[in-house]
Every structure is written in structure tokens, then in C-alpha cells.
């Protein structure tokens, strides 16, 4: 399911200025379609995370940048591990 910018603002409860700032910081990367930005469920969940970090955990904007970058790397590593597990499975099957 994808949301337009308007729908995303309503579902996330974000203010327009806040969202604009997040997009500017490239914390959120919605898909650019001809009809405008398309927000996925993952974007909504990521917005939730950013809000948790800012409001509940008291992280400032510089901190958000660092945390998101590290989390994105962590997920990259997790995916690499998942791929390796599949590769190892495939190997043991062919042997």
C-alpha cells in the first residue's frame, strides 16, 4: 500500500514543515512518481522511528542522522547475513 504526501501527513500526524525537513535531510526517501511522492508502509514505520527517537528518546537532529545511518548499515549487514545463510543452504543441498 502506498500513500500520497497528504495521506502520509494525516496517518503520521506530522506537520508539513517537519516532513519537508525530514525529506530535505533524506531521512525519508519516498518513491517519486509522476503524481508526486509515494510513501510505503516502510516509510510510515521509519517516520514512526524518527519520531520515537526525537520525542521519546530526546535525540537531536544530528543524532538522528547518525542513528539512521548506522541502522541502515545494520540492516545491510543483516541482509548480507541472510543472503549468506541462503547461499550456505544452497551449497549444502548441492553437495
Amino acid at each position: 500500500m502506498t500513500l500520497t504526501k497528504q495521506e502520509f501527513l494525516i496517518s503520521s500526524g506530522l506537520r508539513v514543515q517537519t516532513l519537508e525537513f525530514w525529506l530535505e535531510q533524506r531521512w525519508l526517501l519516498p518513491t517519486e512518481a509522476a503524481s508526486g511522492a509515494q510513501f510505503s508502509d516502510a516509510d510510515v514505520a521509519r517516520a514512526h522511528l524518527i519520531r520515537d527517537l526525537k520525542s521519546d528518546l530526546g535525540v537531536n537532529d544530528e543524532g538522528i542522522d547518525v542513528i539512521l545511518h548506522l541502522i541502515d548499515q545494520l540492516h545491510g549487514v543483516r541482509q548480507a547475513f541472510a543472503l549468506m545463510r541462503t547461499a550456505l543452504d544452497d551449497d549444502s543441498r548441492t553437495i
Binding site: 516502510a42 514505520a45 520515537d52 528518546l57 541502522i71 540492516h75 549487514v77 543483516r78 541482509q79 541462503t86
Partner: protein
């Protein structure tokens, strides 16, 4: 029954708003599921802490809770999906960064190879191996042949039968399987070859066995006979005094082996008398005294 929110946050019931926020932040930093993508238990604990903070972090709700107007369950957060549920959902997306391990991929060790292969396996999956069956004649299994398989999609596949192939052997044609995705390359075609039985030849390892009938004359006096081999007829000398069961060896006329040599063809002779009784033969045997004295069963029965 939900736990007492003060216990969850580890604060006293007289704690100030600032103390409550500090306690919650301390817990949330450790427990937030998105900061612990692989820890399933963190989510439950985080929800508990977040629920407690929802209640105690809001002065109005905290008052009503303290006065017993709402219980600890009253403030549980609505379910929402954490970012990690999407980030871990399989295919790499816009946010995923390989920066955390890119340096590993540059090296030449087994680990980097596995990573690279793993990535190819997902994005560039190799095509499936396809299995086929093919029946060939015995002679073709010995001397080799080129066969064609008609594929389900109407195409054909040329299969080279190596000389000396044995029944049930599987031939692998590289890249002739199903197409792969991306740069994965196609799979292989695996062809199980069945060798049809031959009415003349049987196979025993690298040797080929064959029974050849000979006449009484050829047995007694010897002679040249024509014998089939998988690669064509050859002339073979039957020695004088050959018997039923005598086995002659045609060297190198068996199944080819790896390395260029080949097994032998073993020719087993069987004496066959003329179909119709022959008066001349009967008269000869009648007068053949030595033949009457010979007992082939002597000592065996």
C-alpha cells in the same frame, strides 16, 4: 493484568515528571525494537515501558491512574509496525546500506566469495536444472552417438553420448537448463540415459559378453567365423576342438574406458547340430567306438 507502570519504569510513585521521562528514555534507548533489530524479546519489553510512559508521562492520565479512574491497561499503545519489520523483509530497498561490510566484499577470501555469491543468488538467481530421460541402443552406449531430445517448448537439445556410457548414467549439459534471473545464468540440463537391452550383447563391467553358435564341423575342425561386435563384424578363428562353453577373447572390442583403453568382447561358443536329423551323421556316430566310451558326466554326477 498489566504491570504497575511505576514498577515498569522503576520509579517511585512520587517521582517527578522529569524523573519519569529520564527513566523511560533510559529504558527506551536499550529496548527500542528498531535499535535491536534481531532481538524479539525487546519488542515486548519496549511496549511495556512505552505503555507505562504513555500513562505516567501525561500529567492528566497519571492523575486519573493515581486516583484509580483508569488501570494500567488503559494506556497501552495501539499496535504499530516497527521499521525493522520492513527493513528486514528481504529485498534491499532505498535505505539499505552496504557500507557496513563493503570492504569485506573487496577481498578474495571465502567469506567475500560467499557474500558475493549470496548477493548474486538473490538478485541474479541461477536457473533451475532441468531433468530429462533418454533411451539409447546398446551399440550406441559402446561406440558413442549424438542424439536429439525434443523439449517441451518445441526446441531440441543435442546430446553427445560418450563411448562406454553405462545404463543410468547422468549427463550434464552446462547452461542448457532453465534461464536464470539477471546475471544468474541458466541452469544445467541433466539427462539420465537408459541403455536398452540388446538381444545379442550383454555388458559385464568393461567387457561385452556374446554367445555365438557354431556347427559341429567348426567345433571339431576349427575355422574362421564372422562375429558381431558393437563396432561392426570381425573375423575370428575358432580353434580346432572347441566346445560348447569355450570362451574366446576379442581384445579391445569391449567398452571404451577412460584413458583410451577398452575392455574385451568375450565370445562364448555353443555347438548347434543341424535342425533335421542327418543319416550320414547318424551312421558315423553309430560306428564311432571312441565316442561311445567317452562319458562327459564321469566324475561330475
Amino acid at each position: 493484568m498489566a504491570k504497575n507502570p511505576y514498577d515498569v519504569l522503576g520509579v517511585s510513585s512520587s517521582a517527578s515528571a522529569a524523573e519519569i521521562q529520564k527513566a523511560y528514555r533510559k529504558l527506551a534507548k536499550k529496548l527500542h525494537p528498531d535499535l535491536n533489530p534481531g532481538d524479539k524479546a525487546a519488542e515486548e519489553k519496549f511496549k511495556e515501558a512505552a505503555g507505562a510512559y504513555d500513562l505516567l508521562g501525561d500529567a492528566d492520565k497519571r492523575n486519573r491512574f493515581d486516583n484509580g479512574e483508569i488501570d494500567a491497561t488503559g494506556a497501552e499503545r495501539p499496535q504499530h509496525h516497527f521499521y525493522r519489520d520492513y527493513a528486514d523483509a528481504g529485498d534491499p530497498h532505498a535505505y539499505t546500506s552496504g557500507a557496513g561490510f563493503a570492504d569485506f566484499m573487496d577481498s578474495d577470501d571465502a567469506f567475500a566469495d560467499l557474500l558475493r555469491r549470496g548477493q548474486r543468488a538473490r538478485a541474479n538467481r541461477r536457473g533451475e536444472d532441468l531433468h530429462y530421460r533418454l533411451s539409447i541402443a546398446f551399440v550406441e552406449s559402446i561406440s558413442g552417438a549424438t542424439k536429439r531430445i525434443t523439449l517441451p517448448d518445441g526446441g531440441t537439445l543435442e546430446v553427445k553420448i560418450p563411448p562406454g556410457l553405462v545404463d543410468g548414467q547422468v549427463l550434464r549439459l552446462k547452461g542448457k537448463g532453465a534461464p536464470g534471473a539477471g546475471k544468474g545464468g541458466p541452469g544445467d540440463a541433466l539427462i539420465e540415459v537408459e541403455v536398452m537391452p540388446d538381444r545379442r550383447f550383454t555388458r559385464d563391467g568393461d567387457n561385452i559378453l556374446l554367445e555365438v553358435p557354431i556347427s559341429l564341423t567348426e567345433a571339431v575342425l576349427g575355422g574362421q567365423i564372422r562375429v558381431p561386435t558393437p563396432t561392426g563384424d570381425v573375423t575370428m578363428a575358432v580353434p580346432k576342438g572347441s566346445n560348447t562353453g569355450t570362451t574366446l577373447r576379442l581384445r579391445g572390442k569391449g567398452a571404451p574406458r577412460r584413458g583410451g583403453s577398452a575392455g574385451d568382447e568375450l565370445v562364448k561358443l555353443t555347438i548347434v547340430l543341424p535342425k533335421s536329423p542327418d543319416p550320414e551323421l547318424e551312421a558315423f556316430v553309430e560306428n564311432w567306438t571312441k565316442g561311445k566310451k567317452f562319458d562327459p558326466r564321469e566324475g561330475t554326477l
